[in-house]
């Protein structure tokens, strides 16, 4: 950089042709990446797994530095914060007492109604070992991976509410896509009113509510929880509260602060795929009516052997053995005829049970 400017070397050959080809290759890469967004996922996970020990070691000092940085501003408002926290604590104690009473009442009502209890969700505690806040990607990295049964799609929460979901998992680490990320879209329910919507991140601190019904009426302060539609996320996870964006739309002030979260839970939730009902649970059989036998003349024509007691491929079979019930789905069914053979007597039993 003599005389403040750089000495320029003249390259050999014509670089224009390779440049055009390379630009074309880059465009192709973008298009291929659009079709296959997980093109580099494996390489990325390998790099993160490789960096895992270093991230673990650095995590402590970084966390301390973060706390120190945050504490600088808080020093001047300790007294006010203390007063506010005391007041909030007193209010929360009142709410806690009310919650205990209400919880008992709900359990009593559920028992009376034979309600199917909520599934017990298994969870893994994980620590945040890295954060990546790029202009078009907001993620965090957790120290739990495939070895801990952390899988893509699982919800990540902290004590306040939902933070995001895992979108990539390596052997020892997982990448979490935050609710605020541009790529994040999850189905939510807004209470009261049970309004369904899609929570779409746009890299702002407050994601927006999309796909709202035209007839839906919202107001600031309404509670937003996960709806569980699609079976990927458990229903009822607290997410945030509705706020108006001032342009006629609605956004959600998140309960959880992803920037401050250090220890999070990965919820293991996977709704079992629906199975065909047993013959005894079919509406006709359950109602005590005998299904009409198909005309015998049609049987040979259709090419299906119509022997009594055998079923063709289209007839649902009663399960040979009882489906193993996991602890996560240990829900006592009110209908007791699930594993019983199709018979009018079984249908009668189920009716008396109900």
């Amino acid at each position: 950089m003599a005389n403040g400017t750089w000495k320029i070397a003249r390259g050999r050959g014509n670089a224009q042709l390779p440049l055009v080809i390379v630009v074309a290759l880059a465009v192709v890469l973008v298009l291929v990446g659009k079709a296959q967004s997980g093109l580099f996922d494996r390489a990325r996970v390998h790099v993160t797994d490789w960096m895992y020990p270093m991230l673990e070691r650095v995590r402590g000092p970084v966390q301390s530095f973060d706390r120190w940085m945050n504490s600088i501003g808080e020093v001047f408002s300790v007294y006010e914060q203390n007063l506010k926290l005391r007041e909030e604590n007193a209010r929360l104690r009142q709410w806690h007492n009310a919650e205990i009473v209400l919880e008992g009442r709900v359990k009593h009502y559920e028992a009376l109604l034979h309600a199917v209890p909520d599934p017990q969700l298994d969870a893994v505690l994980a620590r945040v070992i890295g954060r990546s806040s790029r202009p078009f990607l907001q993620t965090m990295i957790l120290d739990a991976g495939n070895a801990d049964n952390a899988k893509p799609g699982q919800a990540v929460i902290d004590a306040s509410g939902m933070i995001g979901r895992i979108y990539l998992s390596g052997q020892r680490t997982s990448w979490v896509i935050l609710l605020t990320d541009l790529n994040s879209r999850i189905p939510v329910t807004i209470a009261p009113g049970n309004v369904q919507a899609i929570l779409a991140g746009d890299n702002s601190p407050m994601p927006m509510l999309d796909q709202l019904a035209h007839t839906a009426t919202l107001k600031a302060g309404d509670q937003v929880v996960s709806s569980g539609d699609g079976g990927l996320l458990p229903p009822g996870l607290p997410i945030g509260t509705v706020v108006a964006d001032g342009k006629g739309g609605w956004r959600v002030a998140l309960l959880a602060d992803a920037g401050q979260a250090q220890d999070v839970e990965i919820l293991k939730f996977a709704r079992e795929p629906e199975q065909l009902p047993a013959a005894g649970q079919l509406p006709v059989e359950a109602a005590g009516l005998k299904a009409e036998a198909p005309p015998a003349a049609n049987a040979p024509a259709s090419g299906v052997a119509a022997k009594p007691g055998t079923a063709n491929a289209l007839t649902p079979k009663p399960p040979a053995t009882k489906t193993p019930v996991t602890t996560a789905q240990a829900a006592p069914k009110p209908v007791a005829a699930a594993s019983k053979p199709a018979a009018p007597a079984a249908a009668d039993d189920s009716e008396t049970d109900q």
Binding site: I21, V22, L29, M69, P135
Partner: protein, 178 residues
């Protein structure tokens, strides 16, 4: 015999020296994508990989070729976790823009050099923004990309100094090769 050995060692050293821009680009991409944020994710990391691309595109374009830029862009894409090809295309287009006005950019010094790099970073960030907008078919918030641009320009001077030192120690002695 000794002359031949020395010649072999010299050519090996030259071959290694020719890879310095590529290795520096990879290292800068790795450095800026270490998933550690001292600001709790409030500020994005700078695009450090753009500095060696800009520097050697002006100083030694025979070493920082479009293919080298492409490779650095891929590493940036892999490590940053964004959409595949986003930074690859942005870097290559920025390279094309800088290479086209090479004489103007290389003549800048002092604050002008920083402004020159700012223009290059602006091209890269604008490309990334446009690609993302086309990809999602809606305009993302400009705030995060503006922060990225600001951080990149802020970190330019120390990074360019380090790159300059590497150039003078490792790449400069190979100048007779040009």
């Amino acid at each position: 015999m000794a002359f031949a050995e020395r010649s072999q060692a010299g050519s090996a050293l030259r071959a290694l020296g020719r890879q310095v821009p590529l290795i520096s680009g990879f290292f800068c991409a790795f450095l800026s994508n270490i998933p550690i944020s001292l600001t709790g994710g409030a500020l994005p990391p700078p695009l450090l990989a753009l500095v060696p691309i800009y520097f050697w595109c002006l100083v030694r374009p025979d070493l920082m070729t479009p293919a080298t830029t492409f490779a650095i862009g891929i590493v940036e894409d892999v490590l940053s976790g964004g959409a595949p090809g986003l930074w690859t295309l942005s870097f290559v287009l920025t390279y094309a823009a800088v290479a086209r006005s090479r004489d103007s950019f290389a003549g800048l010094s002092g604050l002008g050099a920083v402004l020159g790099f700012s223009v290059a970073a602006l091209v890269a960030c604008t490309c990334a923004y446009a690609i993302t907008a086309l990809s999602f078919w809606r305009l993302p918030l400009p705030g995060p990309i503006v922060s990225e641009l600001a951080m990149t320009v802020l970190f330019y001077v120390p990074t360019a100094m380090a790159i300059g030192a590497i150039h003078h120690r490792l790449v400069g002695p190979l100048r007779s090769d040009v």
